[in-house]
Amino acid sequence: MSVDLSQFHQVFFEESYEGLDTMESALLNIDLSELDSEAINEIFRAAHSIKGGSGTFGFSEIANFTHVVETLLDLIRSDQFVLEADHVDLFLKSVDCIRTMISALESGGQCDTSIADELKKSFNTLLDGEPVAIQTADDAQENQTEPKSVGSGWQIYFKPDTDILRTGNDPVRMFRELAELGEISVSAVLDDVPDLASLDPEACFMAWNITLLGDADESQINEVFEWVVDDSELSIKLIGEDDTENNDALATDELEGAEREGISTTSVESDDTQEVNIPESAKAQTAADEVLPQKEQAQKLVSNAPAKKENKPESVSIRVGTDKIDSLINMVGELVITQSMLNQLGKDFSIESMPKLLEGLEQLSLHTRELQESVMRIRMLPISFAFSRFPRLVHDMSKALDKKVELILLGEQTELDKTVMERIGDPLVHLVRNSLDHGLELPAKRLEAGKDETGKITLNAYHQGGNIVIQIIDDGAGLNEELILSKAVENGLVSPNEHLEPEQIHDLIFQPGFSTAAEVTDISGRGVGMDVVRRNIQELNGSVEVESKPGEGSVFTIRLPLTLAILDGQLIRVGQQVYIFPLVSIVESIESQDQMIHRVSGGCDILRLRNEYVPIVRLWDIFNVEAEYEKVDDGILVIVEGDNIKVAVLVDDLLAQQQVVIKSLQENYRAVPGVSGATILGDGTVSLILDISGLIKLAGVGRDAYKKISESDDTEAA
């Protein structure tokens, strides 16, 4: 009866990551002056379950290493060891180390134990003077070369908790496993067994003395008892270490035979009598078994070596609160009721029941919408998932930079679509790093400027309309406008005599190839930063802006749509084609009049909209489709904004507004310029969703061109 454990690996990986996150955040919250025993317990528990899990699944590298970590934690827990700041760092390093090992295993590779071995050494130095701990740590490490275990045998005393059978652990199974390690003889200790009348048949009152002959080593024996060791008395001794006990055991062995008959009514016992006799036959197999694992291991090595991959798989499952599931089930129930009502109506439909039908259909659409919202909510996760990595990041970085930083997290419960969350992580990290590295000053400088020595970085998240807003606020020096400007001139982004508003200067940091860091540091300053951040965020249909005041700090504001899967759309028509504008990008729609249109040399038409000049984009032209109205005067101009540029898009007609589900075009085709995706309309046809910034690029209305146009028109108007 062998179970394929690999099907549970993914669960183990996910649980381990969660455990590691718990350990990390608890470690970062530890106040050394006032040690909270609950925090230590929490860390210990997390480490313990990782160890248990990895042991079960045969990830011995992780189990061995976590065991050492756990040993030290256990000592701290029982006040035998004083925790210091260095140790916290050591623990944090081990958390990282375990995480790397797990992710290596997850992607099918092999874990590199070199870091683990090094950390293990430092742990062992700490544990010096604790002989028990060192011994266990050592034999975990050297379980192949244990010299003392060779040849002789082991004397094991095992007294499980009375509840052992209820937890699904069967001593017989353990003995069977022991039998595979060598020749065993088991004798029961029946001292605690009550008489039959007061016997609880589901409880286990027995203890066992086991003699194991053969060259098994201690860790193998420990492995057998791994699941129950916490709840039972277990002593494992080398034979010859304590002869008297050995004799005792033999004595009870003889006793046992006599007493057995009396108790064999319990199922436990009768099982046992059969199993004790196994070892002789099993002995022959042992030798063969010992060869086999090595072979398997060798094969594993071979097969794993080429499969070493760097790509980290994205997490594919989410945890959902039961309340969300319950509301879903509710909704589906309602839907079923409505459906059966409509069914009934449809069976014998007469024109009199028309109002009823309409009512039913209305209910149906209501339920459908509610159901849709509930399903969307399932994908929503609190942003704390994305924020959780920052305490550690700030902790490590402030150390590396010699800065004092306090990190404040606000609005952690703000919910965000999982896909958005996964893709906003990296830009956020970049922005926080940037604030730490460039924004905050060194403590001395801060004191000089009359500020608190400790800098503040605030991460704030909240909802605003259909968007989620994430802010990264620091109280550092703010952006250095002069430096940015001179750098921009140097890089040719701006001409020397150009006058720029402060906002425009701030915006320059998002230009490609721009970095003000005097030298490239480990943390930031490679000049590939902010433009990537902006591009990543724009890919999520979001925007990022910066506000800054010299000496007071800067605020980066990211706006993102709540979800990527659904969007409010405005359907428009050009000739036979129906396209969709995201409603958020539409500023207004107008029917143009002749006097509002200005023709500029170079063929680009400009719409004068109050006191703004907006370039006109003819959709039929850039998409090469046939339109009903090719002239600006006949059609409708939809003013849309993207990338901070407004354009007026000429369309034939405005159709309905509706929510559309976004489908990927790339999945089976490829990215199309000017199109962000597709959707399926009510009649089953496919309609394309327009990408405003893509349209602007396609139309060739660059930022420069746009500026020139407005300038030239300014002079013209003047």
């Binding site: 998409f623 199309v672 399926i680 394309l688």
Partner: protein, 179 residues
């Protein structure tokens, strides 16, 4: 003992396959384009649909007619006749879209190909498939896997690739460069 068992198994297999144990046969769905018969491995075919109106994609190259809703996923539709330089691109009652899955480096894409009509399903063993003669370096030659011959006729066997839609990049780039 095992020898006799193996022998028995072999014998059974021989009976099943009519003796051609080392010749795997493949099934091909064949269709007509411009009067010629072409075939694709039937395992790559997902379904066959009648021709219906589809949504065109702006600035797509000529062979990509547009996209179609395939039970919730959006798939591109390619006129294979255009790819093979066939002049008559008319749509009749018999015009069909064969939905095939095409392996790419990263995943598989589901693409619809427009052909004149579907024909039949043939079994071809390896010996019946001849490598395609290296006639030219034309665009369409890359799709031709070989020539399958039955008693009475010859079928051009195709191995469709992502090039069906990726080709377009080349064309598009050229257009961009020219403009």
């Amino acid at each position: 003992m095992t020898d006799s068992k193996d022998a028995r198994l072999n014998q059974m297999n021989d009976e099943l396959t009519g003796g051609n144990i080392d010749e795997a046969t493949e099934q091909y769905l064949t269709f007509f384009m411009g009067g010629e018969e072409f075939g694709v491995n039937i395992l790559s075919v997902q379904e066959i649909r009648g021709w219906e109106e589809i949504t065109s994609i702006p600035n797509s190259p000529k062979q990509v007619l547009g996209v179609m809703n395939l039970r919730g996923t959006v798939s591109p539709i390619v006129d294979l006749r255009y790819c093979f330089g066939i002049q008559d691109l008319s749509y009749t009652e018999e015009t069909v879209v064969i939905i095939v899955s095409v392996k790419t480096e990263a995943n598989t894409k589901v693409i619809g190909i427009v052909v004149d009509a579907v024909s039949d399903v043939y079994n071809f063993s390896q010996s019946q498939i001849q490598p395609s003669p290296e006639l030219s370096q034309t665009n369409q030659a890359q799709y031709v896997k070989g020539l399958g011959s039955t008693d009475e006729k010859m079928v051009i066997l195709l191995e469709l690739s992502e090039q069906l839609i990726a080709d377009t990049d080349v064309i598009l780039n050229r257009q961009l460069l020219a403009s």
